[in-house]
């Protein structure tokens, strides 16, 4: 087995294991930490895909900024260890059913995506035009595409964030 494949399986295992622990750990603080580990493992996978920029951004935005906010909320609300509800009650069965349904949908989607990707010459699996590692990794290329082809989506996203910020301020400070 090549080193690259070995590393892939190692990081993939860490990502999956940490994600399972996010749900399984009873303490919210531990869940937050495990989510950070999962994000870091994903970033390592991005590096293997020759996308160091995406990897670093993943760390800065998700592991660095968003999870700090999560941590803050958990700390300030002083969340304690969760008590597991008694097995067999509706509290256990309800989430279990909806969770199983969502998992089934996700697996079906993945299977469909893999099937579709193998048929076309676009996308990463096929090694087509969209899979050029050099253009994926280049920050300059990414910036150019972001501010030309995807300008509208980019600006709409920033407006969305501003709206969220203004909304948060208005909600927090009713009398300005």
């Amino acid at each position: 087995m090549g080193t690259e494949l070995l590393l892939f399986y190692a990081f993939a295992a860490v990502a999956v294991g940490a994600s399972v622990l996010v749900v399984a750990r009873p303490h919210p603080m531990h869940s937050v930490l495990m989510l950070i580990v999962a994000f870091a493992a994903l970033a390592a996978l991005y590096i293997q895909l020759h996308a160091p920029f995406a990897a670093v951004i993943q760390i800065i935005i998700y592991a660095g900024a968003i999870m700090v906010l999560f941590l803050f909320v958990v700390m300030l609300l002083n969340a304690r260890q969760e008590e597991a509800p008694a097995p067999g009650t509706l509290l256990v069965r309800g989430p279990l059913r909806s969770g199983a349904l969502l998992a089934a949908v996700l697996v079906a989607e993945l299977a469909w995506a893999l099937d579709a990707a193998q048929g076309s010459d676009d996308g990463l699996l096929a090694g087509g035009a969209g899979a050029d590692p050099a253009s994926l990794g280049s920050v300059r290329e990414l910036g150019r595409v972001l501010f030309t082809d995807y300008m509208f989506a980019f600006e709409v996203t920033s407006i969305l964030i501003i709206v969220a910020m203004v909304g948060a301020v208005v909600l927090a400070k009713r009398e300005l």
Partner: protein
Amino acid sequence: MLPLIVGQFGILFLAFVALLTSAAVMVYAERKVAAAVQQRLGPYRVGPKGALQPVADVLKLLFKETLRPAAADKWIFMLAPIISATAAFAAFAVVPFGAETTFFGLLEEPVRLQVADVNVAVLVVFAITSVSIYGIVLAGWSANSKYSLLGALRSTSQMISYELSYGLSLAAVLLVANDLSLTRIVEAQGGYWFGFVPRWFVFLQPLGFVIYMIAGVAETNRAPFDFPEAEQELVAGYHTEYSSMSFAMFFLAEYINMVTVSAVATNLFLGGWQGPILPESMGWIWFLVKIAALLFFYIWMRWTLPRLRYDQLMALGWKVLLPLAVLNLVVTAAGVVYFGN
């Protein structure tokens, strides 16, 4: 191929030992400079002029008992100092500290003095800085002590506030350099203007340099921004409950972070290893001189300026530094577009 790998491991080991040593030297320098500022002698009993004082301190810490509060979260309490120390070491991995050198002909092939030459080095430093917050936050939370928690909360809000100005001042330099790799940014600063002014970016980005240094001091939690561990208010802040080597790891991380911030500042603003007289293969000497100057500035500031008040800190970060950093970025962008690179 083999000598290259040996060279790489050599560099890795060298950087690791150099960072550990720099922390020890910094402890000594800090105490001596502090003593000079306050007209005292400082440490002078252990070794010649007290030079072995850091060694004595480390030995003392090694032999102390590791205490853990009964109500602390066992795993996170243990993990927090490890996160701090690891992040501090990891950030330096992408920082180049010299041009290619053979160490006075010791090696057959020249090696580049950098652990890993990454394309997005500047962003990697930034990413690791943002992750290093966790060490402090988790330390403060897991100890289950009010002083620790307050210190952790302060440090998080402080680091988040100053990270923005820090990032924006970096972005302005990236615009001027038109590159993300620290090695190429340094190389872009070679040569002179008008024959005598070195082409350092500090002359193109004076405001950016000032913002970077202020935000850097705040990011490393040093005085006058040392709220997270303000002794008079919080006992010792986030590391109140730590003892022995786990305390030493926080201590180590703080000093290594200072070295990293200074090293990045040297690379981005002060021309890295470029300097007159010495050949480029010995540029690391210039690099050390520049870092030492910046570190002295750090210590000098700590023992000269009083700590800010908390509201002053926030006002300075959000109402002064951030608008200035945005202004600096906009003006730089306009300049780059107008004059070309």
